[in-house]
C-alpha cells in the first residue's frame, strides 16, 4: 500500500486501549503503511467538552487539524469518536469559523486552510482490501465474527459519509478478507452505551449485554469493532453488563486491527491479545476451538 498518514491515535490508544495502538502500528508496518504520529495532538473533546464548552473543543480540534495539515498528509485515526469530532470540527470551521479560529491559532504560529482530509483507519483498510488480502498468511477460517460498527463510525451520515449508514459493509469486507465469517446480530449498528456509562450506567450496561448476548446466541466466537471506545465498553464493562442483564456467556471482543494482525500471522503477544478483560485465548486457531 506504501502510504504515509498523519496518525491521530486519540487518548484511549495511549491508555486503556494501548493494544489497539500496538496492533494498528504492527499491521501498518506489515502492510507498508507509515503511521506518523502527529506531534502534540490533543484530546478531541470526545463529545463531552463539546457539550459544556464548544469553543474550547473547536479550537483544540482546529489545532489538531492544523498540525496534521502542516505535515501535508491525510489524517487517519483509529477511533470513531475522534473521527467524528475532527470531521465535525472541520465542517464547522469551513462553514464560517475559519477566520475566527485562525486568529487564535496564530498565537501558536499555526494556520489552517481546511484542506486536510480526515479518515477512519477502517475506511483505509476497507479500500485497500484487495491489495492486502494477498498478504493474509493465516486465514481465520475458524472464526465466526460479529461486526459491531459503533454509532460514530456511521452516524450522523452528513459527517460520516464513507458508506451507507443503513447498511454499511466495510467491516464485513475486512472480516471476509481475513478469511473469517461475518455473523449478523441485531445490534450491529446500535449503541454500546459508552458515552453515558456514568450518568446512565444501567442503560449502558443493558445495551452492552444485549450485543454480547446476541453474539453468543448467534454462535459468534467474538465481536469486532473499529472503535476503541466501543471496545472499552464491550470488553472492560462486560462483566458488569452481564451481571446487570443476566447474561452468562462472555464473548471476547477484538479491535479491528487485531483480527487483521492475526490473519497476517503477527504474534498474539505483540498485538496485546492478553490485555483484554474477556479472555481471547479461545480465538487462537491453535487453541482447538475450530
Amino acid at each position: 500500500m506504501q502510504k504515509t498518514y498523519a496518525f491521530f491515535p486519540g487518548c484511549v490508544l495511549h491508555a486503556a486501549a494501548k493494544e489497539a495502538e500496538t496492533s494498528a502500528v504492527a499491521v501498518a508496518k506489515r502492510l507498508g503503511i507509515n503511521l506518523k504520529e502527529i506531534p502534540g495532538w490533543t484530546c478531541c473533546g470526545a463529545s463531552h467538552v463539546q457539550d459544556i464548552d464548544p469553543e474550547t473543543a473547536l479550537l483544540a480540534n482546529a489545532r489538531n487539524l492544523a498540525l496534521a495539515e502542516r505535515m501535508g498528509l491525510t489524517l487517519v485515526t483509529a477511533c470513531s469518536t475522534c473521527a467524528l469530532m475532527l470531521r465535525q470540527a472541520k465542517a464547522t470551521l469551513l462553514d464560517g469559523r475559519l477566520d475566527w479560529a485562525n486568529e487564535r491559532l496564530a498565537e501558536a504560529g499555526l494556520k489552517l486552510e481546511g484542506t486536510v482530509e480526515v479518515r477512519h483507519l477502517l475506511w483505509e483498510l476497507a479500500d485497500g482490501c484487495d491489495e492486502w488480502a494477498a498478504k493474509v498468511s493465516h486465514p481465520q477460517a475458524h472464526l465466526r465474527v460479529a461486526p459491531f460498527y459503533g454509532c460514530h463510525t456511521v452516524r450522523p451520515p452528513q459527517v460520516m459519509d464513507y458508506e451507507s449508514h443503513l447498511n454499511p459493509q466495510s467491516l464485513e469486507k475486512v472480516i471476509r478478507a481475513c478469511g473469517a465469517t461475518p455473523v449478523t446480530i441485531p445490534e450491529r449498528l446500535k449503541c454500546c452505551g459508552f458515552h453515558a456509562v456514568f450518568p446512565a450506567e444501567t442503560s449502558a450496561h443493558r445495551l452492552t449485554a444485549s450485543a454480547v448476548n446476541s453474539a453468543a446466541e448467534a454462535g459468534a466466537d467474538c465481536l469486532l469493532t473499529p472503535c476503541p471506545l466501543c471496545h472499552m465498553q464491550l470488553d472492560m464493562y462486560q462483566p458488569d453488563a452481564l451481571s446487570t442483564a443476566c447474561g452468562d456467556t462472555p464473548v471476547p471482543v477484538l479491535h479491528l486491527t487485531q483480527l487483521l494482525a492475526m490473519a497476517l500471522g503477527l504474534d498474539a503477544k505483540a498485538i496485546g491479545l492478553g490485555r483484554h478483560i474477556v479472555d481471547t485465548k479461545p480465538l487462537l486457531a491453535s487453541s482447538g476451538s475450530a
Binding site: 495532538w41 450518568p199 472492560m236 490485555r275
Partner: protein, 321 residues
Amino acid sequence: MQNFIFLIDRFDGTNSWRQRYEFPHKPGMTVLTCLIHIKENLDPTLNFTASCRSAICGACAVRVNGNALLACDTMVDDLREQWGDGPLTVSPLGNAEVISDLVVKWDEKVNRLRLANPGLHAKKEFSAHEGCRQAPQDMQAIQKQWDCILCGSCMSECNKLSDSSKDFLEPFTYTHAARYAEDSRSRNPLEHMENMEKSGMWKCLHCMECVTKCPKGISPAGAIASLRELAFKAGHTDGPGPRHADAFRTDLENTGRLNEVKLVPRTEGMVSAATKRLPFTLRMFARGKLGPVEAARLFVADNHRVEDHDGLKRILKANRK
C-alpha cells in the same frame, strides 16, 4: 421493473401479524402513495395516519426496514436503491405504543412535551404594543429547531429511549426546550432547561440516531448539547454528567490529554472510586489494562504535557479575552 412487495406489520388491538401486499411498480410512487394504493385497492382494513402529503404535518412517519422516515417524502425507487428490489418491511414508529397497524399513540408523548414549558415568555422590555424584536442572527440560531413537525422519527430508533423511557424523553422534547431556552427574546431560559435536566438531559448516549433520522435536518442531540452548556454555565455543575464533561475539559487544558485514572474520582467522587469501582479497577490491574505504577503516577501527578502545550494554552487564552 419488478412488482412492489410490502410486508406490513399489522395489529388489530389483540393480534399482531406481518402481511404481504404485492402490486405493480409505477415510477414516482412514495411510501404513502403505496399505502393509499393498498388501502384503496387491496385491503381497506389497513390503518395508517397521514394528512398533508407535503412533509409538513408530521403525521405519516413509519419505519421501513427498521428505520424511521416520512412516508409522503420518501420515494420507493430511492428505497430500492438502498435495499434492492426485494420486499420492504413497513412497521409503526419505534419507541411508541401501537394503537392499530401503523398508528401509534401520541397522548403521553404530548404530555411529556409540556415538561419543556413550550411557549415564549418574553423579556420585560418587550410589550404587546411594541412587539418582540430579534436580530436576524439571533433568529438564525433557533430557526432550524422551529422546523420540527413533531413526526416522531427522532424517537423511533433513539438508543436511550429504546432502553428505557422512564428516565429519558422523546428527543424532540429537548429540541423544543432548546428553541425557547436559546431564544434571545426569552425572559428566563432556565425555565425551559430545568425540567430537561431532571428528565434525562445528561443521559443521552450521543448515538446520533435522532439527527440521522430527522427529515428536517434538526439535531435533537445538538439541542441536548446546548441545554447542557446552558446548565453548566448557569452553575449546574454537580452530578456525574457535568462532572464527567468537566474532567475531560480539565485534562484537555492541563496537559492536552485525558487522564483516565482521575476520570472516575472526578466524575463520581473518591468514595465511589475507592468502593463501587474497586472490582473494576482490580480487574484492570489483573489483566494488565492498567499498570499499578503508572496508575499511581497518573493519580498523584498527571500525563506529560503534549508538545507545544504552551501554544494550546495561548490559543485558548486568546479566546477568553
